[in-house]
Symmetry: C2
Subunit: 392 residues, 2 copies
């Protein structure tokens, strides 16, 4: 199945020399044929990159014309000059496509603490504006242009009830290696800016905010939703809006899971589901605590059904729980019930873990009706090697 | 300098077969000549081991006669039978030394979720009770008897104004590898139970509660303070108590730092100091967030002055801070000032990191007068290998 942008959008991805490999795309441009609705969700890190600050000011909006993304340099911790560089990028795009600078958003990912090579950026913006297109090749080039240490492109799409296409980059860490998660999602569904902002925030909660590679929140995390509205007359409401929101959530989830699945050195995707909680927040907190434990991660790396690490991580999640009601399954096999280990064949569970890239960890609290899921990478020597290589 | 217990205490450490290597000590017994004051600080994990629950009931106290410690098995997640086994251990010690069971404390560390071999425990208690002594050899055998994957014994002592001697074990993780941190500290200073509890809790806050290897809180963490009071008449007060509390804090800090220094696979001890904060809690939270970041840890492993990882970790510590005031030094060399990188010679900083086992990370917030320190291990391939080895 081919993947393409919804009606109303064009894109390009080109190599302008920001990455050390001159063949690799490092600048992507997305242009709306007419002013479109845009919403954004951003990193909660108090140390945030210049493009995050700029986009935060400009969304939600009904007047966005373009998004420019560069990889290879995060434009983070770059002070006033970094801010000016981000503004300049939007001015250059505006000039190239005939828009105002406030109608352009910008994202950056890559090295932290270095200034952008603005001559390369300028030529990249000019070149990409001259190559805009709507076919799959254009989309895949643009998807590659936002990657850093990812092994491959990350895309997801839905056709019904509205066309949604999303692109993301993974939590790769290159020298000096700051994980930056970027995603941009396009739709033809007619939305108001406020509605776009609300449904995006909801979808992000159970997708992009439910993944972790190493628990290190980046300075650049950004998810944008752009809506051309070409698929209908007037903004969605009621059941139609609910249907769109559901489809958006599923698209976000599909995209988000690809990030820890491609986490640096990952040999397993861990899917941690916690149910039976009094609140979704409590379930999420427990799932995230398990997902971030280096001891749980390394057990999964070793295909080791080491339930003590999982149960003890749940116990320090700073959420009330009754240890005597806890139950655990790994890949559907009961391991722990009513606060005590059950009889299980460890070799069988280990084989199941070895045979599945995605390992399912399912914790039951038996204390309520709420649940949450978090996806995580495991922790391998390749991760350590990759991130301890000397770069200075 | 020889190390010995304060007056009023005897000890023994023997091998009773709990560890796979029959030569290694795995049971230690500490006996007070007369009822002594005891205080304890325990894991905050809601999933806590049986000995933690028992000691929590029995401290603070002025009637403690003995502490028995076994390694090789944590007696955690073992339900009602585990609780009964812990009680039985204290009954056996009480019978051997002529005390009541409520006058005996117990600690366990090692494998989680397995039942204790109570026949071996019983013979170990009998053997150790028959070998009690006060010299250095007895103390070192007892110090070895509480270890799991530690490379060596961890001790600390002070002579003035009162004699304090402490033993600890590190955050080693063996199959199924649950980090358990145990420490027991002896003194001859005269203390009431309430005072002992208060000064211990304060000392733990800036020592054992300020270390991390992998952020995984164990089911068994326990620190005990035992005071024979033989060095004075009547409990300490005022300046004498303050002097003792200061000496206790320094002893705890010396002991605590040995744990991440001997963290599994550690190639560096990271000392993270945060100052200029509005509260100690805020400083501690930032220091711990930096200490727990896998990206910061791997940078230190690589002797890489990768400041972006440190600054961004501070930014997501969920503590208010002004990014424009942040400053950072590594091993005393200024790296980042007023929210922007300074000129520094990366090769010089890297050499300094390579040449020092302890790497100093110093963050300044310039927003108040409070500070905190946290010590952490770095993260190496050896850690991952050790904890992902298949054990089932």
């Amino acid at each position: 199945m081919t993947i393409r942008l919804p009606n109303g959008f064009r894109c390009a991805g080109i190599a302008c020399g920001l990455k050390s490999d001159p063949q690799r795309e490092d600048l992507s441009l997305f242009v709306a044929d007419a002013p479109c609705v845009a919403a954004g969700v951003y990193t909660q890190n108090l140390v945030y990159a210049a493009p995050v600050g700029l986009d935060r000011q400009r969304t939600p909006s009904a007047e966005i014309r373009a998004v420019v993304v560069n990889s290879g340099n995060a434009n983070a911790c770059t002070g006033e000059r970094g801010w000016q560089d981000a503004v300049t990028m939007t001015q250059q795009v505006a000039a190239a496509i005939g828009a105002r600078e406030e109608e352009v958003l910008v994202m950056s990912t890559g090295v932290i603490g270095e200034f952008l090579a603005m001559d390369k950026i300028a030529s990249g913006i000019a070149a990409s504006a001259a190559q805009l297109g709507t076919d799959e090749n254009h989309l895949l080039a643009a998807a590659r242009g936002i990657l850093t240490t990812d092994q491959g492109v990350k895309t997801a799409s839905a056709e019904q009830p509205y066309h949604i296409t999303g692109l993301a980059k993974g939590a790769g860490m290159i020298a000096p290696r700051m994980a930056t998660m970027l995603a941009v999602i396009f739709t033809d569904a007619p939305l108001t800016p406020d509605t776009a902002q609300r449904v995006l925030a909801e979808a992000v909660e159970t997708s992009f905010n439910a993944i972790t590679v190493d628990g290190h929140m980046s300075t650049n995390d950004t998810v944008l939703l752009l809506s051309s509205g070409t698929a209908g007359n007037g903004p969605l409401e009621g059941a139609a809006l609910a249907g769109f929101a559901q489809s958006l959530s599923e698209t976000c989830e599909t995209l988000a899971k690809q990030i820890p699945a491609d986490g640096e050195g990952a040999s397993h995707l861990m899917a941690i589901e916690v149910d039976g909680c009094e609140s979704r927040e409590a379930a999420h907190q427990i799932a995230r605590t398990v997902a971030d434990s280096a001891l749980v991660k390394t057990a999964i790396t070793g295909n080791d059904p080491n339930w003590g690490r999982i149960i003890s991580a749940a116990g320090y999640a700073r959420v009330p729980l009754d240890p005597h009601k806890l139950a655990l399954e790994i890949n559907g096999i009961p391991i722990y019930q009513a606060g005590a280990p059950t009889e299980f064949d460890a070799a069988t569970v280990s084989r199941s873990m070895r045979d599945h890239f995605e390992v399912q960890i399912h914790l039951h609290l038996h204390a309520g009706a709420c649940r949450a899921r978090v996806w995580s990478s495991d922790l391998t020597c390749d991760y350590v090697r990759f991130n301890s290589e000397y770069h200075t």
